[in-house]
Each structure stands twice: as structure tokens, then as C-alpha cells.
Symmetry: C2
Subunit: 201 residues, 2 copies
């Protein structure tokens, strides 16, 4: 379910946002505080977050910080009523999706929310395939990972055998298992699959 998560302690704003988004076909759910949202938060949530900067207790940036720590990847749109440039700059640099001043233009905000939802949908599918790869990597035994790393370094089985001080045949077996478990048929495909990934992660 891809919805907009609205977090604002102003009832009127929440209602207005919900109504606005509903009119554009976007589902939403609202919370009246950062704490309330955190209580309901789980990593599987998808969609985007519309977050007021200034709230009782935990502020928008504080919640943002917390979400980053929790590994939340939902795009976050900040709403602010008092144009704090350093805050905005910081938020964007830390990966916030947008930073919009109140009073906002309804259409513009709705457009940004829809953009954010689209971005999240794209990121989710990418994350899913990344998770598949991670799952396959997790199936490898430690020895297989060692061999895989050396294979990815472009070394010959002979060299790998020498470095690990085992027979070449053993390397071949591990290598074949790696290919099988990772679902590839050659070292090149393996390299393609693992582009930009750190060793033995």
C-alpha cells in the first residue's frame, strides 16, 4: 500500500492535506506527533512522509534524524512556516526529498507528494532486487565467499588455489557452487550482478 504519511500537530493542516491528496487520488494516514508516528512505524512501510518542522516535543528534523537511523528510505517532504535556510539546506543535504514553505500552493504540494510516491515505488523495486541478491549471498558458505572474492578479482583458479593453499579442484567446486547459488553461469555475469558491492558484505 503506497500512501502518504502525514505528521503534523495541527489538526486543520492534517485534514486539509488529507482532503487535498484524496482529491488527487492519493491515500493518506495522519499522525498528530512524531512520537505517535514512530510508535506505528515499521520498516515495511511504503509511500512518503509529509512532515511539519515545528511540533511539540520531537521536531521534524529530530524525527528525520531518527528515521535515518532506522534505515527508513521513504522520501520525506518537510513543511515549514518560518523559512529557516540552514535547516532546509541541512535537510536536503541529508537526503530529504523536499522542503516546502507554508503557506504552500496546493497543487504544487500534491505534485511533489505524487513525485515522492513515484520515487519510492522505484526505490522499492530496486531494493527488492537488491534484497534477492543479498539473500543469495547469505546462502554462501564463508569459504565460498572467499573464493568468490578472488574470482571477482579476476584471478585464475590456479592462483586462487595457491593463495588459499588448497587444491585447484577444490576451488573449482566452490566456484561452481557460487555460480549455482548466485544464479549465474559465468564469472562475468557474477561481476555484473555485484557491481558496486563491497567484498564479503
Amino acid at each position: 500500500m503506497t500512501i502518504a504519511h502525514l505528521i503534523d500537530d495541527d489538526d486543520a493542516i492534517r485534514d486539509a492535506l488529507a482532503w487535498l491528496l484524496r482529491s488527487r487520488g492519493v491515500a493518506s494516514r495522519a499522525w498528530s506527533s512524531a512520537e505517535a508516528f514512530l510508535a506505528d512505524y515499521c520498516g515495511e512501510m511504503r509511500g512518503c512522509i509529509v512532515l511539519d518542522i515545528r511540533m511539540h516535543n520531537m521536531s521534524g528534523p529530530e524525527l528525520f534524524e531518527r528515521m535515518v537511523e532506522l534505515g527508513c528510505s521513504m522520501p520525506i517532504i518537510f513543511l515549514t512556516g518560518h523559512g529557516d535556510v540552514p535547516l532546509a539546506v541541512n535537510a536536503i543535504k541529508r537526503g530529504a526529498f523536499d522542503f516546502i514553505e507554508k503557506p504552500f500552493n496546493d497543487n504544487e504540494l500534491a505534485d511533489r507528494v505524487i513525485d515522492a510516491l513515484r520515487i519510492d515505488a522505484e526505490r522499492s523495486s530496486q531494493a527488492a532486487s537488491a534484497a534477492t541478491i543479498e539473500g543469495r549471498l547469505a546462502q554462501l558458505t564463508s569459504r565460498e565467499r572467499e573464493v568468490m572474492d578472488l574470482v571477482l578479482a579476476g584471478k585464475f583458479n590456479k592462483v586462487i588455489a595457491d593463495e588459499l593453499d588448497i587444491a585447484m579442484r577444490t576451488v573449482e567446486v566452490h566456484r561452481a557452487r557460487v555460480f549455482e547459488k548466485m544464479g549465474v553461469r559465468s564469472a562475468v555475469e557474477l561481476a555484473q550482478l555485484l557491481v558496486g558491492r563491497a567484498k564479503t558484505d
Copy 2:
């Protein structure tokens, strides 16, 4: 030469910035308008840019836009005196390095400039190696590129020969030339080298 390029139509600000940076061991050069800077600009310039938002004629954001079009990769630090949040958000999202409000804290600004110079130095070395790779790719003949793409797709020489309707021996020759020109010794190394690169670019 890694220096800070100061662009501001206020003489006092330029002088103050130059003095401040000099006291931190950072060389700088100043321009009194965006046009004057553009007239001197060349793609080989290294360092960072400190740019006032509001200037006669061409404004900071306009110059930024122009620099992006020119492919300038120097980090840009904006200086602004009137906290325009949308402007700041836009600048950061488009890749500006920072956006600092006047009156600024001297040490803080100098720190940011130094950070920017460091980032530029890192990017420059990366760009240099990328340029090396591009240069090597440019040495390949079109046929060699075709073969390389198929090799990177993990296909056997036999299959490649079939697809290109040439003899396997010919594929071997092209393949060897590709390895030689690209400075690698195996298909895996080639894949490592070209991670994230588009086909036949």
C-alpha cells in the same frame, strides 16, 4: 592549482573573504560579476566557487545554471543575505555544495570552503581515472566494441561468433585487442573496470 573562486559584486565582501581564506592557507581569486567570471572560465579550472546570490545583471543561480550547462564540476557555495528557502532548496537539489546565510561565521565558512576544496580534489582524481577509461574506450574500433559488449554480457566466443556471423578466431583476436587496449587481463577485470557504464558509450 586548487583555489577558491570568489564571485561577488561587493568589494568589501570579496576582500574580507580573500583575507579570511588567506589566513587559513587557502589561495583565492576574485571576480566582481558573474559575467567577468564566465569570461575567464575554462573547463580545466579546479577548486571551488563562492558565489553571492544577488548580483547586478546575472544572479548567482543564473550563473549556477550556466555552469551546470558547461559541465563545471567545482563545488559551489552560495552566499545569501535574505534567506530564500526555495532558492536554497533548489540549489542544493541541483548539486550546489552549500548555501550559507550572511552574515556568516568566518570560521564556519572557511571550514566549508576547505571541505569543498577537498571534495573537488577527490572528484578530480576520480574524473581523471574516468577520463583514462574513456580514452581507452575511444581507442577501440567499432567491431571491437561490439565484441566487448557481448563479452560483457557473459557470452562465449562461440556464441559471439555466431551472433556476429564471423569465425570464432576473429572473435578471439578482437577480444584480445580489447583486453590489450583496455589494459586488463581477463573479462572479469574488464567488467570491474566498466561497472555502471552504458553499452558502447
